[in-house]
Each structure stands twice: as structure tokens, then as C-alpha cells.
């Protein structure tokens, strides 16, 4: 609303993480590193130097993905006059660790945590609506997965359009995969994950967003990289959800 200079100033003042948030981020990073690094892709299951090397690569990947996710949310939140606070979700972290152990790391359950939004009174002056609202919360929550998708898309574009061998570098390949997985898992509508904030704003909006992002992920698995097709899948999801549920939910 006040332009880029205001946003830069707000970023300088409020962007950095508090001590409590650093604790949450550290716990999240360590847990997620274990979850995605537990299975190194070999059939031997041995814990040797390659296993630790793979774990180290996963650590770097998780740090980048988690920080990009949180940075996206914080910048969008600050732009709208909110300070975003990250909190770890203990139950989700433990469920993910147990699932990693039980399935030998074959199934990643990534339920790291959610965000709280604090109203910056002075920076919301002149906004309509003034206080916190579900739309602002949904948009802020959505910024995290979108930041991850932009990162993954940027890397994949380098490979497809400019022939940079991204997939042959283990770190970059994992970065693309984990960015997508993290984005999709964070859209699961379980409080306190991001998906719940979007769902509470609008069920139809959630159906469209989840359909688009999930649809794109499915297309990627078939080697098709197209946001247009993803939007079409999202629109189909939206329409199906409207016809099968939403229309009936409003008829008393």
C-alpha cells in the first residue's frame, strides 16, 4: 500500500527471527533432515560414510527450503502490515519421525508447524480491514508454499530451457523434490499448518489452490511442466468441489 520503500523498512525492522523462533526452526530443520535423509536410496540400509554424506546434503536442502518458505511468508505478511511468527508443531514432528522410522524413510510425513500473525498497529493504518482477517492470513500462509514452488520452478527452468544439468547434482535435485513435497504437505488442512488457514478463509479457494499445486506435482511426475495445465486441473477441482459439496452445503 505504501510502496517498496515502506516494505524494505518493515523488512529491516521486523523480518529477523526471535530466539523462540530460532528454537522452533532448529527443531524443525533437524527433524526434517532426519525424515528425508533416513533413507539414502540404497537397498543395503547401512549407516556408513555415504549415509552421513546424504544426511549432510539433506541438512543443506532442508535449511534452504524452510528458510525460503518462512521468508516468503514473512515478506508477504509484512507487506500487509503483519508480523509473522513461526511455531513448531510437536505432534506433527513426532508423527513424521515415527513414520520415517517405521517405513524406513520411504514415506515422508512432513507436518512441521504453522504461523501466527501479529497485527502491527501502526503499519496497518489506512488498510481496509484494519485488524487481522482471514484473507490476509490465508494469503500470508500461501506465500510460503508459493515461495518453495518458485524456487523449484526456477531450478527446473534452468535445466529445461538453458540445459544446466541441475538434476545430475544431488543437492539441487533434492532441493527441487523437497521444495515440492514441503509445499504440498504444508497445504494439508490440519491446524496449525498453512492449509488450515486457507481452508478457513474459503473452502472453494482451498480446493482451487490445492488442485493447482497438487495437479502440477502430478504433471511433473509425468515430465510435463505446465502451469496452464495446472490451473486447468485446479479449476476442475474447484468445479467438482462446488458441485459435489459446496452447492449442497448452502441449501437449507
Amino acid at each position: 500500500m505504501y510502496g517498496p520503500f515502506d516494505l524494505v523498512d518493515k523488512v529491516k525492522r521486523y523480518f529477523w527471527f526471535s530466539q523462540e523462533e530460532w528454537k522452533s526452526i532448529l527443531i524443525t530443520i533437524l527433524a526434517l533432515t532426519f525424515i528425508i535423509g533416513f533413507n539414502d536410496g540404497r537397498k543395503t540400509g547401512a549407516i556408513d560414510s555415504f549415509w552421513f554424506y546424504n544426511l549432510f546434503i539433506c541438512l543443506i536442502v532442508v535449511v534452504i527450503v524452510v528458510l525460503v518458505h518462512l521468508a516468503g511468508q514473512r515478506i508477504v505478511g509484512l507487506d500487509a502490515g503483519f508480523r509473522v511468527e513461526y511455531k513448531v508443531w510437536w505432534y506433527g514432528i513426532i508423527i513424521g519421525l515415527v513414520m520415517a522410522l517405521v517405513t524406513r524413510g520411504n514415506i515422508w510425513v512432513i507436518l512441521p508447524g504453522g504461523i501466527l500473525i501479529h497485527h502491527l498497529s501502526i503499519h496497518r493504518l489506512g488498510y481496509f480491514r484494519y485488524g487481522t482477517n482471514t484473507l490476509a492470513m490465508a494469503m500470508t500462509a500461501l506465500a510460503g508454499p508459493l515461495a518453495n514452488i518458485l524456487l523449484a520452478t526456477f531450478l527446473k527452468t534452468l535445466e529445461i530451457w538453458f540445459n544446466v544439468p541441475v538434476s545430475s547434482v544431488l543437492l539441487l535435485d533434492k532441493l527441487i523434490v523437497f521444495s515440492w513435497v514441503y509445499a504440498i504437505w504444508s497445504l494439508v488442512p490440519i491446524p496449525p499448518l498453512n492449509g488450515a488457514l486457507i481452508l478457513f478463509k474459503s473452502r472453494l479457494m482451498y480446493a482451487f489452490i490445492f488442485g493447482t499445486i497438487g495437479g502440477y506435482a502430478v504433471l511433473v511426475m509425468f515430465g510435463i511442466y505446465s502451469f496452464i495445465f495446472a490451473f486447468i486441473i485446479g479449476a476442475i477441482f474447484w468445479l467438482l468441489f462446488y458441485i459435489l459439496f459446496e452447492r449442497g452445503a448452502w441449501s437449507f
Partner: protein, 102 residues
């Protein structure tokens, strides 16, 4: 039906405990898993400490029972001890505010 939610959830957690235990396929993994489950329930116990505890006690007991039923690798005594230690650890981590994050 939902008046009997503790019984329903107890049955569900027996099944979950059994499945997790069967899926571990090694004593060490089984021990680490039950320790993590203890932490989970310790955290849960911290959250429900000011409410009626009997239903939660039933649910926790049923989970442990399900886990022991499906346990083919680890020693049951060690599993029970690790579960209790995990619960105590999970509870006191938050009760003593060692990690202030809630």
C-alpha cells in the same frame, strides 16, 4: 455415539500401536519408536493435565497394549520402561519450560 469417545479412540490407538509395532521390524527401531511415542503422549499429557485424565489414561494404556501385541523383536519390559521414560521426558520438557515453545 460420541459420548463413548474414549472407547472409540482407545480401539483406534490399539490398532495404530499394533501397526506401528509390526512395521518396525527391528528391536532398535522399535525402542526408538516407542521412546518417540512416549514423548508424544507426554506432550499430550501436559496439554490435558487440567482436565479429567481417566479417558486419556485409557487411550495411552491402549496404545501401549497395541504396541506390545505387535512387538516381535524388542523386549516388552524395555519397551514399557522406554515408553514411561519418554512420557516423563515429554511432560517435563514442557512442564519445566526447558523448551518454552508451546
Amino acid at each position: 455415539m460420541w459420548m463413548a469417545w474414549p472407547e472409540i479412540f482407545s480401539f483406534v490407538v490399539i490398532v495404530i500401536g499394533f501397526i506401528i509395532s509390526v512395521a518396525t521390524r527391528s528391536a532398535i527401531i522399535s525402542y526408538i519408536t516407542i521412546l518417540l511415542c512416549g514423548l508424544y503422549f507426554g506432550r499430550m499429557w501436559f496439554n490435558v493435565q487440567k482436565t479429567i485424565k481417566a479417558p486419556w489414561l485409557l487411550i495411552i494404556f491402549c496404545f501401549l497394549l497395541g504396541y506390545l501385541f505387535g512387538n516381535f523383536y524388542g523386549d516388552p519390559k524395555v519397551i514399557i520402561i522406554l515408553f514411561i521414560l519418554g512420557m516423563i521426558g515429554g511432560f517435563y520438557t514442557f512442564h519445566k519450560k526447558w523448551l518454552i515453545i508451546n
